[in-house]
Amino acid sequence: MTKAVRIQTEDFSVEEETKLLHGGNGGMGGIVTFLGTARDFSKGKDVSRLEFEEYAGMAEKAMNSLRDTAMEEFDIIDMRIIHRIGTIQAGEQIVLILAGSAHRGAAFDACEWCIDTLKKTVPIWKKEITPSGESWVEEHP
């Protein structure tokens, strides 16, 4: 449960992941976190819940390679990426990315790059369940 990159059905704790990232690393001066949560409204429709599907194996591999690339390209000390799959009710947590660095700029850049790139490169799909039916979201052709 303490791997830095995880795909899981259960919820995660922002506090716990923050402590795991910091891990007593005395050189870490800034931690930037992106937390994605399920909105109850999308494109004019109420959304009661989401369902996430993954390509098991490849999705985690893609997230690991995302972290490896971020650690190489940005001046960060550590990064964690956790994505939930399965059913997620409106308001619940979906994805958490943490980047820790000595100086804050690199952590901001790495965290934003990571969520942008995750959406384009990690084989995970979101279905929105609305009162009028279900539909897969496909925003990145």
Partner: protein
């Protein structure tokens, strides 16, 4: 045998998440394999006709239509991702 995995909207259209296809000894171009997939699942015709809107993988690595598939490979046909 080639194992073909389908995901999300593609799986819904095909009404299955997985199918197996015979493979000649010399292998087959991914492009040829997708034609066989359409032949078995006609509901995928429109989606597979626009391969630039799809993401393809062989053995969990991104692949393109002219890549070669070998016997025993795992092929994935995926719609655009929407994680995060």
């Amino acid at each position: 045998m080639i194992r073909v995995l389908l995901f999300a909207r593609i799986a819904d259209l095909a009404k299955t998440r997985e199918a197996e296809f015979e493979c000649a000894e010399e292998g087959i171009a991914l492009n040829e394999l997708t034609k066989q997939v359409v032949a078995r699942f006609p509901a995928l015709e429109a989606s597979l006709a626009q391969p630039r809107l799809l993401f393809l993988a062989i053995n969990q690595e991104q692949a393109w239509l002219d890549d070669q598939v070998k016997d025993g490979d795992e092929v994935a046909i995926m719609p655009p991702f929407s994680g995060g």
